[in-house]
Assembly symmetry: C2
Homo-oligomer: 299 residues x 2
């Protein structure tokens, strides 16, 4: 095997890849924890080495040339392989010290993780925790997070999931707002109510209507995916919200609406991590710790 043809600086390829994907040298430098001049020089060095113009400099932007675009495809594959290497290496590591990235929705992050993380840090001071707060699914394969807390079962078959509980969702509102609502014997009679919505899609409406509710767009005048804002709007009397009981019951200004009708729905809570990370001492420690703490929280 002749290695001559791969005897170039692989870090220059990395610079090219991240610059192309991020769009600017500055962003790429930041992403890699280097400085812009360094990235600039690495990309230029690659161009010189290959005698190929990878980017046209247009104003303050870098625009990929057709050559650059073609080579980017190959650079991406190298990046994908690097990612897999990284994933496998983390899985092999027997070191407890280091960082773990946890992905969770904003409510879980705000209401449940603080105490869990504080306790974990007391027991494992060598483990650094980074929390990525997002209501979107995190791509564990791409290492956006090491561990995710989610309310849906993962579809990918290289992920490991453990169910740690159920979120019971009630309808909550201020006492003042609820006093103005009519008495009902089941949710199908509930028309004239403002529910602070999560997004514009009809998925939630469809699910509830399947359960007998009679909702339409008129019931969702306020929409925000930022759940903590939902909570505040609810506290301002702007409507009711769907909220997990572990959190809603802790809000002194809110009460359950139509408690006699029972909860609206339940959502499972899954703790997920990538299969390859299960062999990492550190990730396994954090996973098991959170699993135990969350289970205690729900049961």
């Amino acid at each position: 095997m002749t290695w001559k043809s791969v005897n170039f600086d692989w870090n220059h390829i990395r610079a090219f890849l991240v610059t192309a994907e991020e769009g600017t040298l500055s962003a790429a430098a930041k992403a890699l924890g280097l400085t812009q001049p360094t990235l600039s020089r690495q990309v230029s060095a690659l161009e010189t080495e290959l005698c190929i113009t990878l980017f046209e400099r247009v104003g303050q932007r870098l625009v990929l040339t057709s050559s650059g675009l073609e080579l980017l495809e190959h650079a991406r594959r190298m990046g994908d392989a690097a990612l897999e290497f990284s994933l496998a290496a983390t899985g092999q590591s027997q070191q407890i010290e280091g960082s773990v990235v946890i992905s969770a929705g904003e409510l879980t992050a705000a209401y449940m993780l603080p105490k869990i993380i504080a306790k974990l840090r007391r027991e494992e001071p060598g483990i650094d925790i980074e929390v990525v707060v997002t209501n979107e699914p995190s791509d564990l394969k791409r290492r956006e997070a090491d561990i995710a807390i989610r309310s849906f079962h993962p579809k990918q078959n290289d992920l490991i999931a453990k169910k740690v509980g159920e979120e019971v969702i009630w309808l909550y509102g201020t006492q003042q707002y609820l006093d103005k609502l009519p008495s009902i014997t089941n949710f199908s009679e509930l028309h004239d109510i403002q529910i602070i919505g999560f997004d514009r899609s009809n998925s939630l409406t469809d699910v509830l209507n399947k359960q007998g509710w009679k909702l339409s767009k008129q019931n969702f005048s306020l929409i925000t995916s930022f759940q903590l804002l939902q909570l505040e709007l609810c506290k301002e009397g702007q409507g009711v919200i769907f909220f997990p009981e572990q959190m809603g019951d802790k809000e002194p200004n809110l009460v359950r609406a139509y408690e006699h009708l029972g909860p609206v729905m339940t959502l499972p809570v899954w703790l997920v991590c990538h299969q390859e990370l299960r062999t990492s001492l550190r990730v396994r420690r954090v996973f098991d710790f959170i699993a135990t703490e969350l289970s205690d929280n729900f049961y």
Copy 2:
């Protein structure tokens, strides 16, 4: 996309990969054009960074650990991607200066390439030529060569082949040796002859026997794949050889055997290069030049 997880020194992966494949730090360093201390430090840096022992040091050898072996798989994929990047980049290059690697059998290399290369170098002094002499097929995908001269049509569908001629193979021997042979009217009557063989396999014997020859192992007491040695043994009167007429007819000590029966076989000569390299100015220039010169040689 978070780039944090690929923010390690990719050149350390390269060091690990080449060291694992070559078996020693010294060999790997040589292959990469670096020094052994540098490779040693790069591999050690990677081990420290990952907190994983990749190699056990056993005597003067490095032995992959099980962790190392698992990670090697991912490093290989990164190397493969680097190779493809390199191939594509060469194909994109519009620079004429640089080197081109040509793979050819020993006879072609000894008899035909000298003049062709000399002429090419006079016309294109900026192009460096490296010739890899092997009777085995070179892997163009892995960049063992940029251009190959072969007597079989390539099977891979990402190679470009151009037929540049036919090698006419005759049976050659010294006049003295041939004088002792019986008169025959066709090759099926030829039993008591020593043919200096190419290898131990029966493939040549099978091909000739299909054409009516009656050969067996007894006809091949001397076997060497080194064709120039075959030639010398033939000149020493140790037997006859199959040889292309472009070369055999130039040997003053050899004559065609049984010329009245015609040539033994013809072999096509293909000039092959990887599809992606066709867009490289340099490779295309060399390819076209050799194609023309070889064609002139055969016709």
